[in-house]
């Protein structure tokens, strides 16, 4: 059945992925909170971001479930920059999505799969690229992530920059969740 574009006012009853949240920042911010989430019901999220650097210099972009700012996050990164490929492992105070030394206005592209349901340590795998300025792309990475909290339902995600107003104007954040037919 062909129709024009359909705009259902409630989620279709179908097993697929639907955009749960999307925003484009109209003012620079140090962090942005997505609230009203239910990780135990959604189980998996797909996070897509195009960040415009609002800070001129080294910044890292992270994600905090429930705004947990403790040193409860692990990462293993594989990254290429210019002709150097390197791996590094460590712990941080957020899920590491991207870290770089980019310039104001540079673009960082991030995609992250998050297994959100409680009961086990939360895991995520992220790829990122940038910062990109004209025809220079500084890094390409693959990052494995963990949040060492198996108990709490995730009800919010905080996207953050380590530098003030690091999330620049035009940064776009999209979050997708599963919708179900039953």
């Amino acid at each position: 059945m062909k129709t024009g574009k359909l705009y259902p006012l409630v989620s279709p009853v179908f097993d697929t992925w639907q955009k749960l949240y999307e925003t484009t920042l109209v003012a620079a911010a140090t962090s942005h909170t997505i609230s009203g989430l239910d990780g135990d019901t959604d189980e998996t999220w797909l996070l897509d971001m195009r960040i415009v650097q609002g800070y001129n210099g080294s910044t890292y972009f992270g994600l905090r479930p429930n705004n947990d700012s403790g040193a409860n996050y692990g990462y293993q990164r594989l990254r290429g920059g210019s002709t150097t490929i390197a791996a590094v492992r460590g712990t941080l105070s957020s899920l590491l999505l991207s870290s770089n030394g980019g310039a104001l206005g540079a673009v960082v592209h991030i995609q992250c799969v998050i297994h959100a349901k409680s009961g086990f340590v939360r895991t995520a795998v992220s790829i990122d690229g940038g910062p990109a300025v004209t025809t220079t792309v500084d890094y390409a990475s693959l990052i494995g992530l963990s949040w060492n909290n198996s108990a709490d339902n995730i009800t919010s995600l905080v996207v953050l920059a380590t530098e003030a107003e690091g999330l620049g104007i035009g940064s776009r954040i999209s979050l997708y969740k599963k919708i179900r037919s039953s």
Binding site: A87, A132, T135
Partner: protein, 359 residues
């Protein structure tokens, strides 16, 4: 409102805006036109190319008609045991590449941030040049198009060789459907939605650990694109979490090329296995998170691009791996997909999600 098969875009769902089908004739360039990047904002491009040139062939993607040196890239790559990184500029987005072999298969998965106003960026992963069970390379790219002004209205995939995009090649472009336009409806209960991802498995191991899981109702020639995601919980040391097609456990039927990072060690490797590697755990109770994109249609070797993190416990993420994989069977339709442990079991809490693209 119950409906039959809806064959139109639905707000907030990704939707196929172009499917070339498997090409019936070789071409040098393939054009996807009638796009509106400023409206759509994002695209996902899934490409599978059959090299129709008896030699090295490269494939690039360019936006609108821009073939100038306006594209930048940063790449990491594993080829056999060599891991490397490369950065530079090019006359298009690097998409696919074939080493010198007529009939070699390459596959790419690209996410494109298309809206004007900023430099356009692409994140893509490339399975490079497969012949039987040998995967020439696996690559992760981050790329840019240095044009902030123009709306993207077309994309062209171009081969460096005349007729280089061979019979059987296929390009599928999905777009994000969003905005406030369109026909408002109440609750829709469709039988199916053409052009979107349909989740066919959403399974969590409960009650007792299991020794394998079979994905039901697979029809690889009808639904050639599958996406499999697993969050695995180890029971007594699984090792590699394998994905087998048509229950084929032949030890040399599956080839792979890997690029990995473990602690401060980077490594690349190539070999064969008795399945495609979906995850890995080497210790009881450890976790793995893996995602695999598969091209299943018969006629050519079946290919896969996958990423995974392994042996996750607490704040320790032991490693990450980027894989390119192949199943060296061109003939049989894929009707079963099994996920099996190399050893022991998948523990309670193991979660498997499978989507197929309805084309």
């Amino acid at each position: 409102m119950r409906t039959g098969i809806i064959d139109s875009p639905i707000n907030d769902l990704w939707h196929v805006v172009h499917d070339s089908g498997e090409l019936a004739a070789a071409v040098q360039n393939y054009v996807i036109s009638g796009l509106n990047g400023d409206d759509d904002e994002e695209y996902e491009l899934i490409s599978r190319v059959v090299n129709n040139y008896d030699g090295v062939a490269g494939y690039k993607l360019f936006f609108n008609s821009d073939q100038g040196s306006n594209y930048g890239y940063q790449e990491i790559e594993g080829s056999n045991t060599t891991a490397q990184a490369v950065q530079g500029t090019h006359t298009g987005v690097y998409l696919l590449y074939s080493a010198a072999a007529l009939g070699a298969i390459s596959m790419d998965r690209a996410n494109i941030q298309a809206k004007s106003g900023k430099v356009r960026t692409v994140l893509n992963q490339t399975l490079q040049s497969v012949v039987t069970t040998t995967v020439n390379a696996i690559e992760r790219w981050a790329q840019s198009w240095n044009n902030t002004a123009d709306n993207i209205t077309s994309m062209t995939i171009a081969s460096t060789q005349a007729g280089g995009i061979g019979i059987g090649s296929r390009f599928i472009l999905l777009r994000k459907v969003h905005g406030t336009g369109g026909m408002r409806t109440g609750l829709l209960t469709p039988n199916s939605i053409k052009g979107t991802w349909q989740r066919v498995v959403d399974y969590t191991v409960a009650g007792a650990a299991i020794t394998s899981y079979q994905i039901p109702n697979v029809a690889g020639n009808t639904y050639p694109i599958y996406r499999v995601r697993i969050r695995g919980v180890d029971k007594d040391t699984v090792g590699a979490w394998l994905l087998r097609l048509n229950n084929d456990s032949g030890a040399t039927k599956y080839g792979y090329q890997s690029l990995s990072g473990e602690n401060s060690t980077v490594a690349a490797g190539r070999g064969t296995n008795s399945g495609l590697i979906l995850g890995y755990t080497g210790t009881n109770t450890n976790l793995t998170l893996g995602e695999m994109l598969l091209y299943l249609k018969s006629g050519f070797p079946r290919t896969a691009i996958h990423t995974l993190s392994y042996d996750v416990t607490g704040t320790l993420v032991s490693g990450v791996i980027l894989y390119g994989g192949v199943y060296n069977d061109t003939t049989n339709e894929i009707t079963t997909i099994d996920i099996v442990p190399t050893a022991d079991k998948f523990d309670i809490g193991t979660h498997i999600e499978v989507d197929r693209l309805i084309l």
